[in-house]
């Protein structure tokens, strides 16, 4: 009825105050609600503007663009853009989300929720991939590629055959296995009656026994902010705090049992300084501006003390280093071959690569659209040089 109240005000068109209607704070005697009505502010949104931002896809397919993509194209596009986090077969890398598998696990301990096992609508996959992926280069893929990736994810989940092509026309040929697996919030009926009883205040129980202790698990970060779990590799698969939460504490515990990962210490050590610029060449202003540009890279790369390999390799000492030779990073075949063939990240090669990663070195797996401005490339090169 709040909606009804509000629309009444629109019709009324007055800017009178509402006498507390719509006011959610219990205050007596004072009207705290803002005046309502029309204010003549803002401007009409242009059709091109709406088209640019209104890209959501409804569950019934409204909003789907023209275009199409098949499973085989999808496999290639996925390998180039998605596999670095989600694995070649959508099986997930480290803590990044698994996109395939987990069928019939929802009523088990630690269910595996993937596009195949959990997502109720295919529209969600297309919508999400198009607006938010790949991580660090969102909104850079063509609609055809998004169709292809979606088709490949379906294929990885055994939901379509290898000759399947996804488009507006075939979108609803795909049956999502868990489409019927959801109910609307029923807490008001199932929980409120149980959880609104008068609580016991005295003599409520005979004895109190400890049944579980957090100290036994020892997964709490210590005072210095360091993690007691050694490495992400031993942590449960998840893409955010929420999914991890589902993990059984016993599976969270291996941090305590796992051998200390010496790789962390190795990675933290500065790279060899071969090819690094002498300090005199470094322009501090350019380095500072390069640090800002580096924000674009941070989704995947770390640099500086304690830097670790993430989606992309540590970039300490990258200027002057042979391609594909960062410590303990799993490079694409193309990158390793380039390095073996003598390619060194000198300024010219870096500039070419940063301007157009995909075309500069075919088959490499950096999912980054490229830096458009030469100034940005110069700045970032200076910044990287400052981390020998």
């Amino acid at each position: 009825d709040a909606a009804a109240t509000a629309s009444a005000v629109v019709i009324d068109g007055s800017t009178d105050t509402l006498d507390g209607q719509g006011d959610t704070t219990a205050m007596v005697g004072e009207d705290t609600a803002a005046p309502q009505g029309k204010f003549g502010l803002g401007r009409a949104a242009l059709p091109e503007e709406i088209a640019a931002w209104d890209v959501d896809i409804m569950p019934d397919g409204r909003g789907l663009p023209e275009g199409s993509g098949d499973v085989w194209t999808g496999e290639e596009v996925f390998a180039d853009n998605c596999a670095v986090c989600h694995g070649d077969f959508a099986e997930g890398v480290d803590n990044w989300p698994k996109l395939a598998g987990g069928m019939d696990t929802l009523d088990h301990e630690d269910p595996l929720k993937t596009v195949g096992s959990y997502w109720p609508y295919l529209s969600t996959t297309f919508d999400y991939v198009r607006r938010s992926m790949p991580f660090g280069a969102a909104q850079t893929m063509s609609d055809d590629d998004v169709y292809a990736i979606t088709a490949y994810i379906l294929y990885s989940n055994d939901l379509v055959d290898e000759d399947f092509t996804l488009s507006k026309e075939t979108f609803f040929d795909v049956e999502m296995p868990n489409a019927g697996g959801f109910i609307v919030d029923d807490r008001a009926e199932t929980e409120y009656p149980l959880f609104s009883q008068d609580p016991c205040m005295e003599n409520c129980k005979e004895s109190v026994e400890i049944t579980m202790r957090a100290a036994v698990l020892d997964v709490t970060p210590d005072e210095d902010g360091e993690d007691t779990g050694e490495e992400a590799a031993v942590a449960p698969a998840a893409d955010d705090g929420t999914q991890v939460a589902s993990a059984d504490p016993v599976t969270l515990a291996p941090a305590a049992a796992a051998p200390a990962d010496t790789a962390a210490a190795t990675e933290a050590a500065p790279e060899a300084t071969e090819g690094a610029a002498p300090a005199s060449e470094v322009d501090p202003a350019l380095v500072a501006s390069g640090e800002k540009v580096f924000k674009k890279c941070k989704a995947c790369h770390q640099v500086g003390d304690g830097a670790k390999n993430k989606v992309g390799p540590v970039l300490n000492g990258i200027v002057g280093r042979a391609a594909g030779t960062g410590d303990r990073f799993k490079y694409s075949k193309a990158m390793v071959e380039a390095g073996a063939g003598g390619m060194v990240w000198d300024e010219a090669n870096l500039a070419g690569y940063l301007a157009a990663p995909k075309t500069f070195l075919k088959g490499n797996k950096m999912a980054f659209a490229g830096l458009k401005k030469d100034d940005d490339i110069a700045a970032i090169t200076a910044f990287l040089k400052s981390h020998p």
Binding site: A2, A3, V10, G22, A33, A34, F39, L41, G42, R43, A45, E49, I50, D54, D56, M58, P59, C85, N95, D110, P111, K113, V115, W119, P120, S123, T124, Y128, A138, F182, V184, D185, R187, Y192, L194, F195, S196, E202, C204, V208, E209, T211, M212, R213, A214, A215, L217, V219, T220, G225, G229, D239, D240, G241, V244, A245, D248, P249, L252, A299
Partner: protein, 388 residues
Amino acid sequence: GPDPLITDVQDWATSTGAGVDATPYGLPIEFESDVVRRNVEWLTADTISSINFTPIHALDGTITPQGCAFERHHSGAIELRKEDYRLMINGLVDTPLVFTYEDLERFPRENRIYFCECAANTGMEWAGAQLNGAQFTHGMIHNMEYSGVPLRTLLNEAGVKTEGKWVYVEGADASSNGRSIPLEKAMDDCLVAFKANGEALRMEHGYPARLVVPGWEGNMWVKWLRRVEITDGPVESREETSKYTDTLEDGTSRKWTWEMDAKSVITSPSPQMPIRHGHGPLVITGLAWSGRGAITGVDVTVDGGRTWTKARLGAPGQDKALTRFYLDHVWTGEEMFLQSRARDETGYVQPTKAQLREVRGLNSIYHNNCIQTWWVNANGEAENVEIS
């Protein structure tokens, strides 16, 4: 003997201190440098898509300073200038509109205090006691005074058509984090906020403008709000299907579980806040809140629930805002099992972990509002435990 801090003339009583403007925008004094947000590294693959925790153990009162209020990003916190900010209202409206930041400041404003809690708060504790500290078990929450424009005012400006039943809200960042909200809620108490606790929003909380969705899960409080689309149904985005749905024991999942249930936690004593003083007066304190209205009472037990005592509220409970409670206790060194139990104005009483598990099983991840237990030993040290 006499206290030299009194009998000796101290440096600070002889020489002078810092002048004005020493810190034009100040940070807490160095002695409080441990009161900071903390991350649990093993939870997520990357801090760019992650969450950290408010140091609720070390705060008092109810207002969370922005500088230590938890952060949750899906594609990192972006720097968006007011001048570059645009908010579009489109979809089932009479006139699709675009507002600038300046436009927002010209609409009548309201001030409201609300808590914002991540649906996954306490999620790591579903299966058992796991993290040692109120910051980690309950710190995905903050409570601020927001200044902003009711969303209803902006929707009225565009004119909602009668077919409009939902709004879809999205952010300007790479994740866009879109969510569907029923029109009733949008027209009721949602705000487009640009100030919190009197100052501009911090970057990590959505500068220059975010959505405030009182009492509902934090994921819906879209940051860097760029678009509100009026639709005839929910979009069923990634964040409302594959995430933020609650899987029950039989594998069925609840969706649209927007409201945050009544909940409380003792913030001190707690694992990060051991009792350092001796026997005698002890202030037991904590926070209580409910997404369904005001807190009307909090009970505290020191003996694991054999007997309960009504706590004293720091101030009367406010609608969908944090309430501070105190139990002024005399501690004689006895082992304690501390728990708190909140009650809200609808008569809902915070359940035990066993009661919740009975209804929901162990795989729900989100909306864990169970009663928390701290075991305090004779030395005053506390541990996160589960008890019978």
